[in-house]
């Protein structure tokens, strides 16, 4: 079990658990481990310090302290076990029932626990002990009853949370009975917390027993228990202080160890489950035959979800598998590519076609991209050979490989691609805002003559939110729920306009008005949860506009929104670019969104730019097979009754990229040349480029569609 293995990786918790087991065993086997009878007096040897005969010395009646500790542990520990059993037997099932059934059962149990919490434990225990004439078992059962509320509450809360999981709903929809759902789907989520609670309660039961024994309510003398030994030692504290030490230290050690075990278990329980141990340590993707890949049947390591994940967590937390693949079959690291791109624009490299083994993109592409627009001075952002890696140096995984493009004054450049294509990483790398673990490994980002990569933190902060605004994907999660919109907006406004409070408020109102929010004054007083998704995204845009940016990076700005709200937000962005003369970098997975707003389209696949060009031209005559497949897979253009033209297989995860064309294993046109060497981006028309060896241009697509439906490889 991997949970065991994770626990074993914590040396302190393991040592503590070992110590507890050792002490319990020694006490249980006291008949064997104790050198003396615990009640045998030897008055001649009274009050001795440790000797070779009495390892921990003797007490005032000359009894061996070591032996008394072992026998006394039986009483203390068995009392503690009894209390813990009652505690668990009540807390776990009642907590499960209350959390799963809710309603009246939950309310009644909740009240009962509240009443129990309000009772003074020690007084009740003393009453019980006086009624049952110093019967320790009765006291420990009572302690379990009085304490079970803490376990009940923890179990109930965790059950409530687990019962809300979609997989619990799915299990109920599969026809499982309530007890089966509890046992198979909810209980496994709880064991960690239950063990933590049990460990802590066991510790407190030991302390309680010791306290009661100290007061003389436990075993009758001369029988020992840990607490009674402390009581006896305290009688001779002034003359023989050492006798307090053995029982005191032992109780302390056990209580501390139980706490450490609980800590360790909690760490294990809160660590999210990684890939199963069944996953081989070698890269899976290359082991799968190409045919299986084409049938959409890869079982590669999780490619991560969402773009950020594909780029971020994927390689980082994701897997050593992915990392290992880089060395084995990935292309050599890409500094060569970046170097080649560094020479962009020099006349020496202006031939139209590159030799196949050259790793660099066709420089003519970039010369063309520049001149196809108007004035080169109107190019605001120039990106060359941008390469991003995740993970520790030496084992880093490249997630973006040599991206080069530019954004011109007032244009909307749309980046489109699937999860793991590197589109979000590209957008965030531009303002050096990569998720943790990511870094720019090569390439340059030039913003109107300034190198972003050589900027200091202060200048970079000025650029972000200043000249370049950033609109995140999920506005709701990026707004702080505890502050009003007004205070969050003011915080940003204050950075850019150091005016009086009234002036800043006017600016905040102006920004909200700019994003067409009705009644801006009321919005300022709102908390994020009072806004709808569309309103929150407008606030997100207002925040990005506070620094009067010339370039707005909108990262999947409408993905979380309904189509009708999406349309309004896209309309707003379209208006703003005209009104404010902004350029927009629009990142999206939806070709339709790109078509709606973008002047130029940049298609990404598996960390590379595969096609770039004016949106209309790319749509009318897509040059790269992936672009064509992406547009064809859109249900809006599908033939009713026909299967959708789908792309078989899935995106190759970073770290498993082939040396040749990244799209090769899914491409209907793939040939041997595609697999042998990296494919360069080549010019395929005015302002257009494509990373495909087989399509020299849009003309190649004339005739019957070659990307026929590859829908389903379903075998009956």
């Amino acid at each position: 079990m991997s949970a065991w293995r994770r626990f074993l990786r914590q040396p302190l918790a393991c040592a503590a658990a070992g110590l507890v087991v050792l002490i319990v065993l020694a006490c249980v086997l006291a008949d064997l481990t104790a050198p003396y009878d615990p009640i045998k007096q030897d008055l001649l040897a009274a009050n001795q310090l440790p000797t070779s005969a009495h390892w921990l010395g003797t007490d005032s009646l000359g009894r061996d302290i070591w032996s008394r500790l072992l026998y006394g542990g039986r009483v203390t520990l068995s009392g503690s076990v009894l209390a813990v059993s009652v505690f668990t037997a009540l807390g776990l099932p009642l907590g499960l029932i209350a959390g799963y059934r809710r309603g009246a059962v939950d309310r009644v149990l909740g009240r009962v626990v509240e009443v129990i919490f309000a009772t003074p434990v020690i007084i009740i225990l003393l009453v019980v002990l006086s009624v049952f004439s110093a019967n320790l078992s009765a006291a420990m059962i009572t302690l379990g009853v009085l304490g079970f509320g803490s376990l009940f509450r923890v179990v109930r809360a965790s059950t409530l949370a687990a019962a809300g999981e979609l997989y619990v709903k799915a299990a109920r929809a599969a026809g499982l009975s309530g007890p089966a759902v509890l046992r198979r789907h909810i209980l496994p989520n709880l064991w960690g917390q239950v063990i933590v609670q049990v460990a802590l309660f066991a510790a407190s039961a030991i302390l309680t027993e010791s306290g009661l024994a100290f007061l003389g309510f436990s075993v009758k003398p001369p029988d020992p228990s840990w607490g009674s030994m402390i009581g006896e030692a305290s009688n001779v504290l002034s003359s023989h202080p050492f006798q307090l030490l053995p029982p005191g230290v032992l109780i302390g050690l056990v209580v501390l160890s139980l706490g450490l075990v609980g800590d360790g278990v909690r760490d294990v329980a809160t660590t999210r489950r990684g890939p199963s141990p069944a996953v081989p340590a070698t890269p899976v993707a290359p082991a799968v035959p190409v045919k299986a890949v084409a049938a959409g049947a890869t079982t590669g390591p999780g490619t991560g979800s969402g773009d950020a994940a594909g780029a971020g967590q994927g390689p980082v937390s994701g897997s050593g598998q992915a990392t290992a693949a880089v060395e084995s079959d990935g292309p050599p690291a890409d500094p060569g590519l970046a170097g080649a791109l560094g020479t962009v624009g020099r006349p020496a490299r202006s031939q139209a076609l590159m030799p196949a083994e050259d790793e660099g993109d066709d420089p003519a592409v970039w010369a063309d991209q520049r001149t196809a627009g108007a004035d080169p001075a109107e190019t605001w952002l120039t990106v060359r050979g941008l390469t991003v890696e995740f993970g520790p140096p030496g084992r880093a995984v490249t997630v973006l490989s040599g991206a080069s493009f530019e954004i011109r004054a007032g244009e909307v450049l749309g980046i489109v691609g699937e999860s793991g294509s590197g589109k979000t990483v590209t957008a965030r790398a531009l303002i050096d805002l990569l998720p943790a673990g990511g870094r720019i490994a090569a390439g340059s980002v030039d913003y109107r003559g300034d190198q972003v990569r050589s900027m200091g933190p202060a200048r970079l902060n000025q650029l972000r939110g200043g000249q370049i605004g950033y609109v995140p994907q999920e506005p709701m999660t990026t707004l702080d729920p505890v502050f009003t919109i007004g205070s969050q907006l003011d915080e940003v406004v204050r950075r850019h306009d150091r005016g009086a409070k009234a002036a800043r408020r006017a600016r905040a109102l102006e920004l909200l008005d700019l994003v067409r929010l009705r009644d801006p004054a009321a919005i300022l007083r709102c908390y994020p949860h009072e806004l709808s998704g569309g309103m929150a995204q407008r606030v997100g845009i207002a925040l990005a506009l506070a620094g009067r940016p010339q370039l707005l990076i909108a990262d999947e700005p409408t993905t979380a929104l309904d189509v009708t709200v999406q349309q309004q937000v896209l309309d707003l962005l379209d208006d703003l670019r005209v009104q404010l003369g902004m350029a927009i970098l629009l990142v999206t997975h939806d070709w339709g969104v790109l078509a709606d707003l973008a002047d130029r389209a940049l298609v990404m696949y598996a960390g590379q730019i595969v096609e770039v060009g004016p949106t209309e031209a790319v749509y009318a005559t897509p040059a790269h097979p992936y672009t064509r497949a992406l547009i064809a897979a859109n249900p809006a253009t599908a033939q009713p009754g026909q299967p959708l033209p789908s792309i078989p297989g899935q995106v190759v995860p970073p770290g498993s990229w082939p040396r040749g064309c990244h799209f090769a294993d899914r491409c209907p046109l793939v040939g041997p040349a595609c697999l042998s060497d990296p494919v360069a981006l080549r010019r395929v028309g005015p302002g257009r480029a494509s990373r495909c060896l087989l399509t020299d241009g849009p003309a190649d697509w004339a005739g019957p569609a070659r990307h026929e439906s590859v829908a389903l490889e379903v075998t009956a």
Partner: protein, 278 residues
Amino acid sequence: MTEQLLLRVERLVVEYPGGRHRAPVRANDDVSIEIAPGETLGLVGESGSGKSTLGDAILGFAPVVSGRIWFKDEDIAQASPGRRRELTRLIQPIFQNPFGSLNPARTIGATLREGLLAHRLASPSQADQRVAQWLDIVGLPPETADRYPSDFSGGQRQRVAIARALIMEPELVICDEAVSALDLSIQAQVLNLLSDLKRRTGLAYLFISHDMAVVEHMSDRVAVLHHGRVVEQGPAADIVNHPSQPYTKALLEAVPLPDPVAQRARRATRKEAHEPTQ
């Protein structure tokens, strides 16, 4: 005619109870829909329109205040928990989020077997065979059964979710935004898989989505939900080509067209229409 219907929802009202200071929320208000065997009914609307609630009510997860849900000849709106469990064999859901709908601590095989064993549809060894067979049908290799959800991508997990629903050989499958979380190329694969399975098994779908283009592609008939009410219902082609309600029209026009020229023309018309009012 009527007795041939697989599902008939009649004047359904669903209300989520309010709190001490909150009024109850009426999520479905007088909703009536019908699904014939082997038919796909598309259910569209914005978030909050009550489309998922309707799916939940049919599955027995939503508090039905009044109205009837006829499944064949039986009103299941207020079915007992025991009867509900039996019905799960015939009515199965596929949920939106393939990351949440599979228990991360259980193998794919355990998840797929679960329903079969709960209904005693198969012995444990037969169940393993059925699991392997269905993994093959949804395009996953047999060793998938021994692995955990964390080993798979969103598209692969959604295939597992489809296998879990269909392994019970249900008559009605409720697809609640079943492809919304997937990438476009993967979405196309999964939609094709769903269409193909329907062709082969003759099951019926209630296909819930906010994406009109997806609904149009998948459905025989479409119902449009707005504020918990059905505002329009009819054959998919009619609804798409001749929407009678402004809300339906707005939904249709909100889906961006992949053709940039056509999309720009549409925006221009839309802006012209809005200009005088501003």
